[in-house]
């Protein structure tokens, strides 16, 4: 029934069906912006974590921001994040944190 109405009537429901078919993500799981893509190399698909590398998605933003600041200042035990954190501008770090904190 829902299908019939959606396809016949077009409109919002139809658009939603087509958007889903076209692979558009729902708003709550927006794809990672370019600046956050580098994180996905180690931190798992969508930032969900990989093995012993911790996940970033859905974490508290203030907690992530404090960790990044500590890595930049070399004040937190690290293997490689201290070397990476210093490569981002403040604005880039903020954009990446915004993205991961918003993810479910």
């Amino acid at each position: 029934m829902g299908w019939q109405r959606a396809i016949r009537g077009g409109g919002l429901a139809g658009a939603a069906v087509l958007a889903a078919l076209a692979g558009a993500a729902p708003a709550r799981s927006q794809p990672a912006p370019l600046v956050a893509q580098g994180c996905l190399g180690c931190h798992g698909p969508g930032g969900a974590g990989s093995g012993s590398v911790p996940g970033l998605a859905g974490r508290d933003r203030a907690e992530l921001a404090a960790a990044m600041a500590a890595f930049r200042a070399n004040e937190r035990p690290a293997t490689i994040m201290n070397r990476i954190a210093r490569g981002y501008t403040e604005a880039e770090t903020a954009a990446a944190l915004d993205h991961f904190a918003r993810r479910p």
Binding site: Q4, Q37, L40, G41, G44, V53, R86, G87, Y88
Partner: protein, 424 residues
């Protein structure tokens, strides 16, 4: 609604499959050539972040064997199946995967000719074809010789890696494994030294009287101090590294006799020979007129468009990447930038600005990892790339067993993560 009617409507909806829908709306066609770290990243990123693009991927192999972690296969620490990945994940994202070999690009007509006879049109092309071995650059080293002394530097279907592994297994204890290592630039700068390490790891456990002779066409290499510290700690006396200055450059190979001959005429007889020869961009880049005299493809450092062919974005090991290494991570990172640029240019928008990343782990032993990290930025003109000052660098030196152990584990997690990003 009857079951029959519901089924009919569902199949009507399914018929609006992703590429068909996109084409029906006149979507821009993004064609990707090469299904490795650059190409698979490009195709997946395009579907995730720019679902309005109609994305096709041309790749001759049905499955991709990674070069990263192939050295662990040589060491007997991984199986080939664990470094082999299929394209079903990309298909599920709506990428049309075409199993064929792209032969030549016509960048003016924006068409690509495939070996199977088909011609594909595109609006923007992402070319990530990888490298070619420059057979003939070392006298006596041709394709036939590579079946006796493998290069194992292009994974392909995995045959070269399997051959080298079999030869190591067949070698008697007390044998000599010889490596010929090229001058810069080449694919994966730390790769030969990780290979030395992991062959040593295998020999130490199974053939402890054996030796490794590494003949190098240069005097310094990536993560050198860390590798040499590790060799001294884990494999004392087993590895002899001969730099260019000590007649390390191999110029001639006699595969039948098992001889690597250096510049000043020293003939080194080895039991297993691994010749990592000089390289260039893959054949299609050369055939399509994209390379310069170096054999690599000069590109705009913001869009990665070939200087010789705007609209053709060249990423991965085939391009001239400024100070960036030819690594899988850089291929993936820059492929995403190239797709984002292509998408912006198709829409008449500004090219995005973002840093490029490299995180490159090497195993010195099974539980002993080291790394190099780099963050790079292009200049505004797209003519150069520079490393961000005071960032990146290699692992610290010193007796740091916990750091080495953790980096080996994080290397495994990196491999799982990036291959999931590429092929998941």
């Amino acid at each position: 609604m009857t079951a029959l009617r519901r089924r009919a409507l569902l199949s009507a909806a399914a018929a609006l499959s992703v590429p068909a829908l996109a084409r029906a709306q006149g979507a821009a066609r993004l064609l990707v050539i090469g299904g490795g770290f650059g190409g698979a990243s490009a195709a997946g990123f395009a579907r995730r972040n720019h679902p309005w693009l109609d994305v096709a991927l041309v790749e001759p192999q049905p499955r991709f064997v990674t070069c990263p972690y192939a050295n662990l296969v040589l060491a007997g620490e991984r199986r080939m199946e664990e470094i082999t990945h299929g394209y079903d994940g990309l298909r599920a994202r709506g990428v049309r995967v075409i199993q064929d070999r792209a032969e030549e690009i016509d960048p003016v007509a924006r068409r690509v000719r495939l070996r199977g006879g088909e011609t594909l049109s595109y609006d923007r092309l992402i070319l990530s074809p990888g490298i070619a071995i420059r057979f003939g650059a070392l006298e006596g080293y041709d394709e036939a010789a590579s079946r006796v002394m493998p290069h194992a530097w292009i994974a392909g279907d995995g045959a070269q890696t399997r051959l080298l592994r079999r030869q190591l297994e067949a070698m008697p204890d007390g044998g000599v494994v010889g490596l010929a290592i090229p001058a810069n630039p080449f694919r994966c700068p730390p790769g030969p030294y990780e290979r030395i390490s992991l062959i040593a790891h295998y020999l130490k456990r199974h053939k402890p009287r054996s030796k490794i002779l590494a003949l190098d066409a240069k005097d310094a290499f990536s993560k050198q101090a860390l590798f040499q510290d590790g060799w001294n700690a884990l494999y004392p006396g087993m590895i002899e590294w001969v730099p260019l200055a000590d007649d390390g450059r191999v110029v001639r190979v006699d595969a039948r006799e098992g001889v690597l001959e250096t510049e000043f005429g020293t003939r080194h007889r080895v039991d297993v020979g691994n010749v990592i020869p000089p390289q260039s961009a893959a054949r299609i880049a050369v055939a399509s007129g994209l390379t310069d005299a170096t054999g690599w493809v000069p590109v705009d450092t913001r869009t990665f468009e070939a200087r010789a062919a705007p609209g053709v974005h060249v990423v991965g090991d085939a391009n001239i990447p400024g100070p960036m290494p030819k690594s899988g991570f850089v291929a993936s990172s820059t492929a995403k930038q190239a797709v984002a640029s292509a998408a912006a240019l198709l829409r008449g928008e500004a090219v995005p600005e973002a840093p490029y990343f490299n995180t490159c782990y090497s195993h010195v032993g099974a539980d002993y990892g080291i790394s190099v990290v780099n963050v790079f930025r292009p200049n505004a003109e797209g003519t150069a790339i520079a490393e961000v000052p005071n960032s990146g660098g290699v692992s610290p030196r010193g007796d740091l067993p916990e750091q080495r152990r953790l980096e080996a584990r994080y290397a495994d997690d990196w491999y799982a993560s990036i291959t999931a990003d590429l092929f998941g």
